[in-house]
């Protein structure tokens, strides 16, 4: 269970938001909405533990995330604005590197399956440099399929994805929720999930 208690975020001299609280139980999905600059990304980064809230705290199964630290991060998969891909490596090399950087090396087969889930397996002969924006995004998101994490935090996952890829992602999120996972995401495009989505809107 992920809970946010009375979060407040200040950027520079501006207060982006205050008093943000919610609870997410297994199988629930939260869609964070709001105009540009309203603090969506900042909220997600606070939920990950990358940024510190000015006030309040984030709890995972009732333990503050700063206290359980690595235990929390072992449950977490985060996809930010950037894809965290190396231009000089091929997609599967990237996935394998990402897995081993987490101390959880994966097999080539598992990496290929993860790429298959987003339909980018056939691109594996090329270095990432040669891929289009959308293809890169898909490779980046394949990490979700490779590492089994219970909490997904996705910042604009649909950015530069085409309709088919968006559908693939929605399917993946649905399967994740059915397994008892939790997802928090932001999106400007509508995302069609089978599961019920809770919406948190910034004004």
């Amino acid at each position: 269970m992920l809970s946010a208690n009375d979060l407040e975020c200040v950027r520079g001299t501006r207060r982006l938001f205050a008093g943000v609280s919610f609870r997410l139980h297994p199988g629930e999905c939260l869609l964070v909405q709001g105009p540009n600059g309203s603090g969506k990304t900042s909220l997600l980064r606070i939920l990950c533990g990358l940024a510190r809230p000015e006030r309040g705290e984030v709890r995972w199964n009732d333990a503050p995330i700063w206290r359980i630290d690595e235990e929390y991060r072992a449950e977490l998969a985060y996809c930010g604005h950037s894809n965290a891909l190396k231009d000089d490596l091929t997609p599967s090399e990237n996935l394998l590197a990402a897995a081993s950087l987490c101390g959880q090396p994966a097999s080539r087969g598992a990496a290929a399956d993860a790429l298959e889930a987003f339909g980018v397996r056939q691109l594996d002969a090329l270095p990432v440099r040669a891929l289009s924006q959308g293809q890169k995004r898909r490779v980046g998101l394949s990490r979700l399929a490779l590492a089994a994490r219970r909490l997904w935090i996705l910042d604009e996952p649909l950015a530069s994805l085409d309709a088919r890829a968006a559908q693939a992602l929605a399917g993946l999120v649905d399967a994740h929720l059915e397994r008892g996972g939790i997802a928090v995401l932001t999106s400007h495009q509508p995302i069609e999930l089978r599961a019920e989505v809770r919406v948190f809107a910034f004004t």
Binding site: R11, G12, T13, R52
Partner: protein, 248 residues
């Protein structure tokens, strides 16, 4: 105990520290002025002429206190930085930030007066003496701290990055000092030590200590004024600042 803690934390918030610092500043400023006057009087009119160095030794009355302050202020700065990192209090980081320029100034003064003392004593403005060299490195450490602080726009990030640097520096200062000393004995450079005045008369020692006290009080007063300016800069957008009498 707990009420005392709450009391303390109340002053740890910049808006409530601002008036307190304002009330404290004149006291330290007056202490600095009076002890400075007494120190200078001793330095020029009470302390006798040195048998070996003649009148040139009188530089000691600014040189040694300036060196002491430059080292002491770095420690204090690192202390506030550590406190700021550990407790995440904004005021501690602001204090560290406010001390740095004064520390750098004293390090510079120590180098400047050291050079002016070196000329009549050793016949040259600069020798690679262990103390002078480590003072120079300390000066660079201050400059690095201030440069890093100035290069980061986000004040909170700047606070924390500079604090890490100050802590790294404070671990390094003894190592640097030891290594420079080691290097100096190895190369048989200048063997005259600046601070060991040949025959330290009681008046000399008293003058030096009083001057050091004056510099210390001055540092506190100036840091308080600077921390007030920093608070104003950081809180410029708050209602608290709008209600200040000074700003009307």
């Amino acid at each position: 105990m707990s009420s005392g803690l709450i009391h303390w934390f109340r002053y740890a918030s910049p808006p409530s520290f601002y008036p307190l610092a304002g009330r404290m500043t004149p006291w330290f400023a007056w202490l600095a002025a009076v002890s400075g006057a007494v120190g200078l009087w001793i330095a020029f009119f009470v302390a006798p002429t040195d048998a070996q160095q003649g009148e040139s030794y009188r530089i000691i009355f600014v040189h040694v206190p300036a060196s002491w302050m430059s080292m002491f202020l770095y420690l204090v700065m690192a202390g506030w930085s550590g406190l700021g990192l550990a407790l995440n209090t904004r005021l501690s980081s602001m204090m560290a930030h406010a001390i740095a320029p004064t520390g750098a100034m004293f390090a510079f003064l120590s180098l400047w007066t050291g050079a002016l003392w070196g000329r009549p004593t050793w016949g040259t403005y600069w020798v690679w003496d262990a103390r002078l060299t480590s003072e120079l490195v300390l000066f660079f450490l201050y400059l690095g701290y201030m440069a890093l602080r100035a290069a980061i726009d986000d004040p909170r990030r700047g606070d924390r990055a500079a604090a890490v640097l100050a802590l790294v520096g404070v671990i390094n200062v003894p190592i640097i000092y030891f290594s420079v000393q080691w290097w100096n004995t190895l190369h048989q450079g200048a063997s005259v030590s600046l601070t060991r005045a040949p025959s330290m008369a009681a008046a000399m020692l008293a003058g030096m200590l009083i001057m050091a006290f004056a510099f210390w009080m001055y540092s506190i007063a100036v840091s308080l004024v600077r921390v007030r300016a920093i608070i104003l800069e950081r809180e410029a957008h708050t209602e608290w600042a709008y209600q200040l009498k000074e700003a009307t």
